[in-house]
Amino acid sequence: MKKLLLITILLTGSLFAQVKGNIEVPYIPYKVKMGKGFTTVQANCLTCHSFGYVLNMGKQPKSFWKGKIHKMVADFKAPITKKDQAIIANYLTEYYGNGKLK
């Protein structure tokens, strides 16, 4: 009898408003490689998205990283100076490169 009752309730009501109050999206502690140029990356590459975007690409050649930096500047209007772009390209090639230029 009890069981039956439960089923009826489940059928008539659905599960609404499961979360009350503010939603907090957790922070992921990304294991980022520290090294020359990292502070420049930190200052320029983490405003619009997390470092997860970089890790998600896997190890890639220098031309790839240069292309991504260019895409950020040209398409998404990231305000990054030429000088910083070069520092970031070197950092990414050093720590997230695959040993190839192209």
Binding site: Q18, V25, G52, M57
Partner: protein, 399 residues
């Protein structure tokens, strides 16, 4: 599992016409640079593969693809811009309908639920970049494995009914949709989608419920657009504005994102990019094996039931073929289709391994129009890494 539960369709499939190029997709399939299930749980979500926290990019684990309906807590999450409002008062939430309409409307969530006919549609929601990491060489965009997809029963109101209530003015031909996510930097383009009126049919809905529950926050609570048959780039989340216009506006995410070579094979090479592109729109035929998973050890002489899902743009799946001899011979899997033509078709294939060592399962879906999935080596490359639908392969070890 009862065999009679499964529907077998009998429409004969003809060979598909699909382009090939010298460039191909990775034979090893989805590289999944990161296929680890994260220890960090996101609001309302079970353990997921986490590609990014800001904006949240959460991929569903492969085990999800053994069932026709994906649970809300395992449903993938994909935002474009990092600023997502943290809270809504459902009593105050409104969407605005403006532009070339007779009367501008502001509809509250409550009015949406009570003032219009309520409809339900089960539909596959798949990112245009799902399985992107299978392309080689690497393409632009987030390198998803196979889990940027799910299938749910969405409940809501027809977009058509809402537009009719507002009344379309002469010349109304485009509808723009904007949600509440915003960029961190003011010059970054907003994520607005535009659809032509001709593309809208009665199956397009403004959904507030998913699998009998409120939409999970990260899936677009309280209202999102659902366009069955279409890649989900246009399924705008946290919908705030619907704007009717007579002209197509040139917006970044329409003009540069989610486009593919405008030729028959929808393919190109990195050195010879095709000069014109088109939006990705409707989904191609595809299937994914949810069980077993790559690298699993399976017991000799113990029956393996391969389980997976197949879908297309709504033409409907007619067959799923499975091969255990690297594509030399194909055997028909059992199908279960209970949620309509836009939903997943579940498939099952029982196999008793007699030999030890490596064993590869391949699954190929064929739809009612005769279109079938190409081998991964025959997939044409495109710069954005969209629409990957190569035959899925899973290799296990028989011990």
């Amino acid at each position: 599992m009862k065999r009679r539960d499964f529907l077998k369709t009998s429409i004969a499939a003809s060979a598909a016409i699909l382009g090939t190029t010298e460039l191909s997709a990775d034979v090893h399939q989805a590289r999944n640079y990161n296929n680890e299930i994260s220890e960090v749980n996101f609001p309302e979500k079970a353990r997921m593969i986490v590609h990014s926290d800001r904006p949240p990019l959460l991929e569903s684990p492969m085990s999800t693809f053994t069932r026709g309906i994906t649970e809300n807590d395992k449903f993938f999450v994909r935002w474009h811009l990092p600023d997502i409002p943290q809270h809504y008062d459902p009593d105050k939430y409104t969407i605005e309908i403006n532009g070339l309409v007779e009367k501008e409307l502001k509809i509250t969530l409550k009015e949406l639920k009570t003032g219009f006919e309520q409809v339900e549609v089960a539909a596959v929601q798949q990112c245009g970049g799902n399985s992107r990491s299978s392309f080689s060489p690497i393409t632009g965009g987030i390198q998803w494995g196979n889990g940027a997809m799910g299938c749910a029963k969405f409940k809501g109101v027809r977009l058509r009914d809402i537009l009719n209530r507002a009344g379309l003015k002469k010349g109304a031909s485009w509808v723009g949709f904007n949600g509440r996510e915003t960029a961190a930097y003011y010059k970054t383009p907003d994520f607005v989608r535009e659809l032509n009126m001709d593309e809208l049919d009665d199956h397009v809905i403004l959904a507030y419920e998913m699998n009998g529950e409120d939409l999970p926050y990260l899936n677009g609570y309280p209202i999102r657009l659902v366009i069955p048959g279409y890649y989900s780039d246009s399924w705008v989340k946290m919908l705030s504005h619907i704007t009717v216009t007579n002209k197509y506006k040139h917006l970044f995410f329409m003009d540069k994102g989610y486009r593919i070579a405008d030729n028959k094979c929808e393919c190109e090479t990195p050195d010879h990019l095709y000069k014109t592109t088109k939006p990705i729109t409707i989904m191609n035929v595809k299937s994914i094996i949810g069980f077993p998973e790559n690298g699993m050890k399976m017991y000799h002489n113990s029956e393996i039931v391969v389980r997976g899902v197949a879908w297309d743009d709504g033409a409907g799946i007619s067959k799923v073929m499975v091969s255990t001899d690297n594509g030399k011979t194909w055997d028909e899997a059992l199908l279960k289709q209970e949620n309509g033509r836009y939903a997943y078709t579940e498939f099952r294939y029982a196999f008793k391994p007699a030999k030890y060592g490596k064993l590869t399962f391949m699954a190929k879906a064929i739809n009612n129009l005769g279109a079938e999935q190409p081998l991964s080596k025959d997939i044409g490359w495109n710069r954005g890494g969209y629409k990957y639908n190569g035959i899925h392969e899973v290799t296990v070890e028989i011990i």
